[in-house]
């Protein structure tokens, strides 16, 4: 079995890799920009500030996109294969057909060529230097060349000597380039003058040899200068980055803060469901087609049909608001994971456990009633099937008592089905339960990831996808191992 586990563990990174690629592509294809200038006014209406203007044109969100590597192609960098003709045509379209395109289409194209600029700099400088082209086209080519030449430095205090030196060089070169930008009011003479300086900069940095990729450098760019590779190289060192709105907080530390909430809300109900659905499933199976079976069946059908956003407020309204715990004067809590921090801190450890238990009782019910209903019905079917097996009949014929048959033979064999379906839900731990967490004001993963999606916090979203898939894979491995423990006939060798 050990060799099986090792094999599975070795396969894990490969599977994860495939999952990450899919997630990554989907996330990168999702539309939307990271920030918005619109706000709500005092009566809750959407307004924009009339004396405020955002960045317009291709500069919008540029820094954000550069920082997250969103200016690179997603999986393969095929921009290095662009030919001189393609570049010419692209520039001509941009420079001369702006009036015929919709603002959205023009902007998209402009952004695309802006992102490509880094990889086509030799063509761009030739375009800018070609007196046969129109002023608009040359201006565009020169500005795209500048865009391609501007680089990002290393951010943060903890830099090596080389990184610092590189930062200095980058900022110097960037200053030089941004001074050469061809502005709205520049004359053709200004353009000539600036292009000469741009050429000097280009030659100074190594000219065509340095900027056009050949041989292995070409392959390297094709495979490695992509969003995916950038992300993966960070993930490989387990660096999941920081939150978008606070670079002092890492994704891992923020997830760590919330893990106790979500783990409790996922693992405890998982175990409880397992126990309860065994009991109910068994009851239903044993009393098949009798009133107990029917009534439980109907009950579970109803439970399964009621959505959680109906049940959660109902629980609060009917069982918690203005009510106390039976036989005590303690009000039933309906928000938070435990009492307010200052009260909670003053508790001893067992008081804390009690405090958490009374706080999570209602959320647990809200999270698990639906799954339990499904699982109990599943368990019933599984047990019924096992009960019709020959070995059960044999056991009965042997005169074994009813309890031993149900416990040892039916229960154990029937639970394999339930384990499979439960194990798959381990990955859901990270997804959390958004609705329950929101209604009961628990600061768990669900809300955290939901907010991250709204904020376009790519690091957090990718981490959630990554961790979710990892946990699902681990869940299946655990399920496989449990099979061998539950059923000696199954061998993993």
């Amino acid at each position: 079995m050990i060799s099986y586990i090792i094999r599975r563990l070795l396969l894990l990174p490969l599977t994860l890799f495939a999952i990450i690629i899919v997630n990554f592509v989907i996330l990168n294809l999702a539309p939307g920009d990271p920030t918005t200038l619109a706000n709500l006014n005092a009566s809750g209406e959407a307004t924009r500030q009339s004396d405020e203007t955002g960045a317009t044109g291709e500069n919008q969100y540029l820094l954000f996109r550069e920082h997250y590597g969103l200016t690179l192609p997603i999986i393969l960098n095929t921009w290095i294969f662009l030919s001189s003709e393609e570049v010419s045509q692209g520039l001509q379209k941009l420079a001369e057909e702006k009036g015929n395109m919709s603002v959205q289409a023009y902007h998209k194209l402009r952004t695309l060529w802006g992102d490509r600029a880094r990889f086509i700099m030799p063509f761009l400088i030739k375009e800018a230097d070609n007196p046969a082209h129109s002023f608009a086209r040359r201006r565009l080519a020169a500005n795209l060349f500048i865009r391609g030449g501007i680089k990002q430095g290393y951010v943060g205090a903890k830099l090596t000597f080389e990184q610092r030196a590189l930062n200095r060089a980058i900022s110097q070169s960037n200053i030089q380039l941004s001074d050469l930008k061809i502005l709205e009011g520049d004359t053709p003479l200004d353009l000539e003058h600036k292009v000469i300086q741009l050429k000097a900069w280009y030659l100074n940095k190594g000219g065509e040899n340095a900027f056009s990729k050949k041989g292995s450098a070409r392959l390297h760019t094709l495979l490695f200068e992509t969003r995916f590779c950038r992300y993966l190289s960070r993930v490989a060192t387990l660096d999941f980055g920081t939150l978008r709105n606070d670079s002092n907080k890492t994704v891992i530390s923020e997830v760590g803060k919330r893990i106790k909430y979500s783990l409790t809300l996922a693992v405890v109900p998982l175990l409880l469901t397992f126990a309860f659905c065994q009991i109910f499933g068994m009851m239903m199976a044993v009393h098949q087609n009798q009133w107990l079976d029917y009534s439980l069946n109907i009950l579970f059908l109803i439970l399964f049909a009621i959505p959680v956003f109906v049940v959660a407020p109902f629980l609060i309204e009917k069982f918690a608001l203005h009510k106390t715990i039976p036989f005590t004067h303690i009000p039933i809590p309906y928000s938070g994971f435990h009492s307010p921090e200052e009260v909670y801190q003053s508790y001893t450890s067992y008081q804390r456990v009690g405090d958490i238990l009374i706080h999570i009782f209602l959320p647990l019910v809200a999270i698990k009633y639906g799954t339990m209903a499904v699982q109990a019905r599943l368990a019933r079917t599984a047990f019924l099937e096992v009960m019709r097996q020959d070995y059960i009949r044999t056991a009965r014929a042997k005169g074994l008592n009813r309890f031993t048959i149900l416990w040892k033979h039916v229960g154990r064999n029937g639970s394999i089905t339930i384990v499979t379906s439960l194990a798959a839900s381990l990955g859901v731990v990270l997804g959390g339960s958004l609705i329950v967490e929101t209604i009961f004001e628990i600061n768990g993963f669900g809300r955290f990831f939901y907010q991250a999606i709204l904020n376009r916090d790519y690091n957090v979203v990718l981490f959630s996808a990554f961790a979710g898939s990892f946990l699902t894979l681990i869940g299946y491995l655990i399920a496989d191992i449990s099979y061998t423990l539950l059923d000696p006939r199954i061998s993993l060798e």
Partner: protein, 691 residues
Amino acid sequence: MRSSTIFKGLFGITFLLLAGMLYWSSLLQESDLKKVGQELKELRAEMAGLGQRISREIQHVQFNSTKHAKESSSSLTEASQYPNLLEEDPYFKTTLPQQLGENFQPYGILKKAIVGKPENLHPFNGFREVSQLIDMCTGQIADLKMGCYETLSANLAYRLESRPRADDSELQEYWVFLREDVYWAPLNLSHFPSTLDLAPQFFEKHQVTAEDFKFFYDAIMNPYVHEAKAVSLRTYYEDIEELKVIDSHTLVVRWKPHLVKNSEGKEEKKIKYSSLSLTGGLQPLPRFVFQYFADGQKIIEDDSDPNCYRKNSVWAQNFAHHWSKNIIVSCGPYLFDGMNDESISFKRNPQYFNPFAVLVEGIKFTFKEGLDAVWQDFKTGKIDVCTLSPNQLLELNHFLTSKEYELQKANKRSIQVLDYVDLSYFYIGWNEAKPFFAHEKVRKAMTLAIDRRRIIEQNLNMMAVSITGPFFRFSPAYDPSIHAFPFNPEEARRLLEEEGWIDLDGDGIREKILNGEKIPFRFKLYYFVKSTSSKVIAEYIAIALREVGISCELSGLDIADLSRQFEDKSFDAIFMGWKLGTPPEDPRQLWHSSGSKEKGSSNAIGFSNPEIDKIIDVLNYEYDKNSRIALYHQFHQIIHQQAPYTFLYTPKIRLLYRENVHNIFIPRERQDLIPGADIPEPNLQVLWIAK
């Protein structure tokens, strides 16, 4: 076999016993520790109470001493050959002190709410509320006088002079003389994550100097700083030719001259009209924080080049991800006092030079998901001030007759109501790039087909004022003599027919043949889905347009998607609002043709009109007040005729506050307190709480 079972059993029992005893002893120890901890906490609380009492006493002494110091200060009337463009605000100098009396002491924490949680507190965060919070903690060279538009009163500067330039005496430059008694408060370690090590230099107070103002300007002008507010300010300040630091408290702001034709047709050099108010709007940015890493090293090791921060891209990158972007470094009337997931707090700055700038001990803003949550909190008394949307008015009336409120009233917590006109307006923008709305007559027909009075009366519970143009209803720029287009569906139908929109196939929807293709008048109207009143208004508009043979499909979007439609200019029609700036208005962002084809520009509808462009350009350099107003009125008239928007209404806001909160008033209506006041919105900064 048997003995081993007995042995196992015995062993198990002993083990359990031992474990039990271990747990018991640890419990005893834990409860002892808790007791010690509790006592320590009580001791600390007692000490804190004592400290608070002492600091209150000190504040009281300071409040009185700064009051007297201020009275004796005469810096504003210092002798100089050039007049001081800043005046002292008589409201803070005499009116307010008289109102407060000799024995006044700031008291209490004012509790308010903010809808939404700020992403961060970066100095150039684009979220309007964050800008306001930062303004509370910093301030600018000059302020508006209380209640009056287009005025300048002394704030961080005590003098502002317009002097002739040394190189060209025809041109003027602004000399700014800063106060010397303004300091950046030391940072507070508890506002940072415990993992961050901060250098000791951040825990000292630093004087606010002219270099901090230059740093602010440099940061705005750095092309690599992409924060929303910086980008927005850049368009206003890019006309500064030079900002020169003379000494630590003096700076010179020189604006670019432009050649402009005067009334006699001669060219003359002029700087922009807005240059004075923009110079007054400059703020300081703390160099001692934003030029450094948390460990105290400079971000740019060699920053000897005076324009370093205006150009350096690596600094800009670090600035965007700065370690202090979740605190506010304060030198203003309020000091930042921490932010968590639920709220953000500020305390009064006892060292601030104007003791009347803040009349409470502190202020706490709770972050709320929506206006409903704010209203719930206001009802229970968790917050002191709140505003209502028109559809909540019924709930208010309901609450005012409830038992709960009776009890609050008996406890001297009754609710006070103040209605005021918001500095904003709502409109339907018709995208002129779409075939439907390219022509003026069609847009006018749309306006004629919509009964705007009905919207105000029936959908908004009369909580709005009707408007006809793009300026604030109570600004001198607004021409009240322009009459709104009447509600006239007949005329609308006629105009549509004139433009060739005729129902050809009898399906009730008009069509027009465009480039050989029959196009039905079927368009999409986007609106903000989370607002109930927007939704009912949009629904009414769809019905009203159906009456004149136009099919208006509704699409409700959340704010991010609505914004995206707006910025992409991909919508057909959009229902949104503009929050307006204070006069003098600069209509360039919204109406100049230069933005009509740019993604992200405020001219989302692609409006372009040479006359309008010309007025905008002339307004830039027109200094005469009457000519300016004439130009604004002309502008208003053209926009009214062109009907690029259907101007729907300017909302009235119902402000609620508790009885113990004082000094909430509308300046415009209190000429006895502020003669000449023209601002119709209350100023919520100078209120106090009764003990």
